[in-house]
């Protein structure tokens, strides 16, 4: 593969101005970089859920598993367990990963399995035309909550920190250089990594101006320090006005789930038969 052809013939159906383009461009650049740095593209699998974000796998000419809503982590975990050499990069929406499939996300973080979750967090359901999600601010008026939501959002990074994730970062779709850096660092991190990307949905929840006025890049923060990470993560709770930090909040080296399994999978048919026979004989 001399020239890495990362595009496909699928026609792009994201709205003009959608934050998903930034994620697509950033991950393509990272995949190309990784490929030239000795991690061949064929040893990468992309996994997506369902929603606008998920179309990304149609737009990248790489191995992929276009899964179902909320169910990205278990698929990704099994791919990693089946072959730990594979880099598993997952895309999920906020409705998808933080809503319907939250149990899987928590358990993947708890296991510290080496997969990377990139969350297209636009804080609204786009593909189903504008309903609130687990990270929509209190009072968000969506099509299922015309009077405004009556519940507070969750802070996904705080939840992930509590669940055992060992790499947590936040990006913003207005700022592709930072996204690239975060994606690459997350992918290269050995263990469960999650990048919550503030991805703007221009059609149903355009937060460009708001985010641009609030975001800043973390500096002088020690991501190895759990308490410092927790404090930084709590600076903005996805609801009230506060400065919104971007960058790596938490990073810790820990043993990963996949390393706790046998390297080999299965036995030769002959060996299998011999051992089955032995079990049968012993049961007589």
């Amino acid at each position: 593969m001399n020239q890495l052809n990362l595009g496909t013939y699928a026609s792009n159906t994201w709205c003009p101005g959608c934050g998903d383009f930034a994620i697509l461009n950033a991950i393509k650049a990272v995949l190309a970089e990784l490929n030239s740095e000795g991690h061949p593209l064929e040893k990468t699998v992309l996994v997506s859920g369902i929603g606008c974000h998920a179309k990304i796998v149609d737009y990248i000419n790489a191995n992929s598993f276009y899964s179902i809503h909320g169910r990205v982590p278990p698929v990704a975990e099994a791919i990693k367990l089946a072959n730990p050499e594979i880099k598993v990069i997952c895309f999920a929406g906020d409705g998808d990963a933080y809503g319907e499939g939250i149990e899987h996300l928590i358990f993947a973080a708890k296991r510290n399995i080496d997969i990377t979750m990139i969350i297209h967090n636009n804080r609204v359901y786009g593909l189903t035309t504008g309903q609130y999600t687990p990270t929509s601010p209190l009072g968000f008026k969506g099509r299922s909550t015309p009077e405004g939501t009556k519940e507070l959002p969750i802070n996904p990074l705080e939840l992930m920190l509590a669940s055992g994730a060992t790499f947590l970062a936040r990006g913003y779709t207005h700022g592709i250089e930072l996204l690239k850096r975060l994606f690459k660092e997350a992918i290269l991190h050995k263990g469960f990594s999650l990048v919550d990307v503030l991805q703007v949905c221009v059609t149903y929840f355009n937060m460009y101006d708001y985010y641009t006025s609030k975001v800043y890049e973390l500096s002088g923060h020690d991501p190895q320090n759990f308490d410092a990470a927790l404090n930084k993560i709590r600076e903005w709770d996805y609801n009230r006005d506060a400065p919104i930090g971007l960058g790596v909040f938490y990073k810790k080296e820990m043993s990963a789930f996949e390393d706790k399994f046998l390297k080999v999978s299965g036995l030769s048919p002959q060996e299998r038969e011999t051992r089955i026979k032995k079990i049968l004989e012993e049961s007589a």
Binding site: D58, F65, Y66, I68, R71, S265
Partner: protein, 557 residues
């Protein structure tokens, strides 16, 4: 058929299950053919638990209600089961906690002061079970040495004191019957779950995923125990949804995976079952049935999920469904299901019921054909790879990550041959046709195998129709009453031709099922076959041979 039945009963926590197994192994060592029925409630301590261990000189697959021995570790055991006693039955009981009064027949009783012996030997209360086994061994005229050998093998903790109290029980009893050793060869003794697990391993299982749920947990426990021996990944994830999704992740990577659950867990799996159908990712699902709806009777038996597994999942897709009826069939058809799942890239469901999953059977390898891991259709690496190539038989060649310069895309959306999402009407129809086309070839393939078993086929005009574990009682009753037995094993795609042949000469078809609505009977109606009578039992308990015989006689009267 000559057989001897032993009932051992007590509270949960008394070690009844283990004791039943030890008695089974003891009789098995004397070369009897064994079947063990296990009856226990959904709790950890208390309640009433019992096992019926039945031994015969020829193969048996069911228990009888009447028993020859009752080993009573508490009063409940006698009170609840005294009706099972025959005229010459023997009751062995703990005289320190049980009163053997008002027993219906003039059978013999042996009182053993279990509590006193435990105290004298400074043994734990749970060891009363080993003590009463010792008494049974003596009463049944079996030698001490065989029992000692089995105890040494089966009991890992505190074997010396166990042997001591067992011997006290042995010495406290008197010989009443003489269970003589037989000359035939002893056969392996295992549960339907273990048999299914071994069949899956033999067909190349690499990972097994399950969330604990009765009656599928024994399969999880068995495979977890042998995981390192067979280099398997056995994982208990966060939920049944996580379970089957992980299964498909392994499958995408080319590694054979199976999952196990019961009805409630299968409910959670259905969305991903449909994903397996759409993305054409092979997966084997073991569904152990228990009575529903909802939580129902968790630890009891039923055959109520046939139509559920046949129809579960949104959309239309091909599936293979098989319901084995004994341990050998559980072994063979589990491996077979794995092979079919990979050959046709479809979900394969192995439908068990609690009776089969947790019942203990002899395993006679000579009754089944060899089953080997078959290589599925693989990409030839010549033409550019298309994951969903519109192939003639609907089966696209498989390739697995990593494959240089090749992209492998699985997709839950409707997709084109390369796996890219499409909503184009022509492509949609083409791909739906491609996927459904597999059923025709699968059905043709299945014609070479015995998808419908027929027994006792010397032209009797009456036939018992059954599926799953009801094969056991039906075979025994049919033999006694001169009836044929027809047992469909494959339930999807339904082997219509084989079933038609099985019906030749049958004038009266009696359907025997553990459900309230006659699910097999209903399935047959769809294929144009009518059943004449239905014998349905849906109280959570399996048919015993004597009970079913009575019911069939009433139908035939």
């Amino acid at each position: 058929m000559d057989s001897v039945s032993v009932l051992i009963g007590g509270k949960a926590g008394f070690g009844i299950d283990k004791s039943g197994f030890i008695i089974g192994r003891l009789l098995n060592r004397l070369n009897y053919r064994i079947y063990i029925y296990r009856d226990y409630p959904s709790l950890i301590r208390g309640g009433h638990t019992f096992s019926i261990i039945r031994a015969a000189n020829e193969r048996i697959l069911t228990h009888r209600n009447k028993v020859d021995f009752i080993l009573a570790l508490n009063q409940d055991t006698l009170d609840l089961h005294k009706d099972r006693l025959k005229n010459n039955s023997v009751v062995i009981y703990d005289s320190d906690s049980v009163k053997a009064e008002g027993l219906p027949s003039a059978g013999k009783t042996i009182a053993v002061a279990l509590g006193k012996i435990m105290k004298e030997e400074n043994a734990q209360e749970i060891m009363r079970n080993t003590c009463i086994i010792g008494a049974f061994c003596k009463a049944a005229g079996m030698g001490w040495d065989t029992l000692e050998g089995i105890l040494r093998k089966e009991i890992s903790k505190e074997i010396d004191i166990n042997l001591k109290v067992c011997r006290r029980g042995f010495d406290a009893a008197q010989e009443i019957a003489k269970v003589e050793p037989l000359t035939q060869k002893a056969l392996p003794l295992l549960s339907g779950s273990v048999a299914a697990g071994l069949g899956l391993i033999n067909a190349g299982l690499k990972s097994y995923l399950a969330y604990p749920m009765t009656p599928s947990s024994p399969l999880l426990h068995f495979l977890a125990d042998v995981a390192s021996e067979f280099a398997l990944k056995v994982i208990h994830p966060e939920s049944e949804i996580g379970v089957i999704l992980m299964g498909l992740g392994f499958s995408y990577m080319g590694q054979r995976a199976a999952v196990g659950t019961s009805g409630g867990g299968f409910c959670l799996m259905t969305e991903t079952l449909s994903l397996s159908g759409m993305a054409e990712l092979p997966i084997v699902i073991v569904v152990g049935q228990r009575p529903g709806p909802s939580t129902g009777l968790p630890t009891y038996t039923a055959q109520t999920d046939l139509h559920f597994v046949l129809n579960a999942g949104q959309g239309e897709f091909v599936r293979f469904v098989v319901a084995p009826g004994d341990a050998e069939e559980a072994y063979y058809w589990s491996g077979f299901a794995m092979n079919m799942s990979w050959k046709y890239q479809i979900p394969a469901i192995i439908l068990l019921d609690k009776t089969l999953a947790e019942g203990i059977y002899n395993f006679d390898a000579t009754l089944i054909k060899e089953i080997k891991e078959e290589t599925p259709l693989l990409w030839d690496r010549q033409s550019p790879y298309k994951r969903y190539l519109n192939a003639e038989k609907g089966v696209s060649p498989l390739a697995f990550v990593p494959e240089k310069d090749t992209v492998i895309k699985a997709n839950s959306y409707e997709h084109d041959e390369s796996g890219i999402t499409t909503e184009d009407p022509k492509a949609t129809k083409m791909m739906q046709d491609k996927r459904l086309r597999k059923e025709k070839y699968l059905a043709q393939d299945l014609e070479q195998y015995e998808g419908v078993k027929v027994y006792n086929d010397k032209n009797p005009s009456g036939a018992l129709l059954c599926w799953g574990s009801n094969k056991g009682p039906c075979l025994e009753v049919a033999q006694n009453l001169g009836l044929k037995v027809i047992q469909p094993l494959v339930l999807s795609p339904f082997p219509v031709k084989q079933f038609k042949e099985a019906l030749i000469g049958v004038k009266r078809l009696i359907c025997v099922e553990n459900n309230a609505t006659g699910q097999l009977s209903r399935l047959l109606k769809v294929h144009g076959f009518n059943t004449d009578d239905k014998i349905l039992k849906y109280d959570g308990r399996p048919f015993s041979a004597d009970e079913l015989e009575q019911a069939v006689k009433e139908v035939l009267r």
